[in-house]
């Protein structure tokens, strides 16, 4: 029997797949995907900083009100988040932008486009295997042919996807590097340190205020507190001091993480044409480590 043209093509497909599979998934795409997941973690931790500051301010207000409550001077309108909404909205927008960038990088660089392609191709192949009507006899294929075709088309599609990535990603990384460096520097400046102006100092102060109000409460109510109540209040005082230490560490780590994020993006951009990028791997490891450290702080402070 003389093999049909279709069968020859199908027989050639495994060889074609083998030849092309060597060029799949570039090192840059792998590094970009790794950067994206670490960046998303840093963005989430930075968002938490604003909530932490607003919550600490609210708690300090509550503690002050409990000590000095007077229906004549109480102004409900003064109970509001400390960080102005319009400034917070800009941070939310910027952090969402960073997250969107990281997510899209991961989607474009990761295996998902190829998996989606494979699913689509397989579904179409299934339909061809199940064809029953005589009218479609020429289109009907065997399960073996289907497997070969799905593998071949997926492999070929993967090559085209990788080609598009390799052509576009370096330019995108170049374009994004300056804004990313600027954003990380500004967000770091927002935070400052516990002894420099900024959110870290503000958060430390809000805990100082809560501690001072708690001491004042114990001082003013000392005579009317039972031994157990006094013990509970002193425990609260100690917990506040511990929370303040945790908060200082959390903000310092978040600031460090933002610096690491900027460094990782710079390294990703600088190594965009390299096959192996040991410098990028070192910076990325630092970023991942920082994100894990901050996570640890949040888990401890939420207990």
């Amino acid at each position: 029997m003389i093999p049909s043209v279709r069968n020859i093509r199908i027989l050639l497909l495994p060889g074609l797949c083998l030849t092309l599979s060597g060029c799949l998934h570039s090192p840059l795409a792998t590094r970009t995907a790794a950067f994206s997941s670490a960046a998303t973690a840093t963005v989430t931790q930075t968002t938490n900083v604003y909530q932490l500051v607003n919550q600490a301010h609210y708690d300090a207000q509550l503690a002050a009100l409990a000590n000095d409550y007077d229906p004549k001077t109480f102004k409900p309108s003064e109970i509001m988040p400390f960080l102005p909404e319009k400034d917070l909205a800009v941070r939310t927008q910027v952090l969402n932008g960073l997250k969107e960038y990281a997510t899209m990088l991961a989607e474009v660089s990761g295996d998902q486009p190829v998996t989606d392609l494979e699913t689509q191709v397989k579904a179409s192949g299934d339909a061809l295997v199940k064809l029953q009507q005589d009218d479609f006899a020429k289109l009907k294929i065997t399960p073996k042919e289907q497997n070969l075709a799905v593998t071949a088309i997926t492999t070929l599609g993967n090559v085209l996807i990788e080609h598009d990535r390799a052509r576009a990603l370096p330019g995108i990384l170049d374009k994004m590097d300056k804004p990313i460096q600027d954003i990380c520097a500004i967000l770091q400046s927002d935070i400052g340190t516990a002894d420099k102006p900024g959110l870290a100092n503000l958060l430390h102060l809000e805990y100082d205020n809560q501690i001072a109000e708690e001491q004042r409460f114990i001082d003013k109510s000392g005579a009317s507190l039972s031994a157990d109540q006094r013990r509970t209040e002193i425990q609260t005082l100690v917990k506040l001091v511990t929370a303040q230490q945790q908060a200082d560490k959390t903000l310092a780590a978040t600031s460090k993480s933002l610096a690491a994020l900027a460094a990782a993006h710079a390294a990703l951009t600088a190594t965009k044409t390299q096959k192996d990028a040991p410098a990028f791997k070192v910076v990325l490891a630092e970023l991942v480590q920082d994100a894990q450290t901050i996570n640890g702080f949040y888990q401890t402070s939420s207990k």
């Binding site: 319009k86 927008q93 392609l117 995108i172 500004i186 102006p197 102060l205 205020n209």
Partner: protein, 118 residues
């Protein structure tokens, strides 16, 4: 406007240092039970006013950075748009192959597309 360098000295630092020192001394004066009630009350009021001043100073850093942040966010848009285009292009590729798979003879179309790359 260039973004703030986190390592650069902040002109607000001397005021913050002075206010922090006042916060510590007024807190200590309030907590000193040897002081008269009037002295402790005065110390508490000083502490409250100082705390409020520090809050204002810290908040000024945050609000002062907003315009720069907005500008940096705007600068991200062209890169994000380019990434969206790439994402759409890759997605469209999947759709194209879905068609190719429905008619096996169309495999030529795929081979031709790949051949054009080399």
């Amino acid at each position: 406007m260039p973004p703030t360098d986190p390592a650069a000295p902040d002109p607000k630092q001397p005021s913050l240092d002075a206010l922090n020192a006042l916060l510590v001394s007024s807190t200590a004066a309030y907590n000193d039970t040897d002081n008269t009630p009037a002295a402790r009350d005065a110390a508490w009021k000083t502490r409250k006013a100082t705390s409020s001043q520090i809050e204002t100073l810290d908040l000024a850093v945050f609000t002062g950075n907003t315009a720069q942040l907005q500008a940096a966010e705007d600068a991200m848009k062209p890169g994000i748009d380019q990434l969206k285009d790439l994402q759409a292009k890759i997605s469209a590729l999947g759709e194209g192959f879905k068609e190719a798979a429905t008619v096996l003879t169309d495999i030529d179309k795929v081979v031709a597309a790949v051949s054009a790359l080399f």
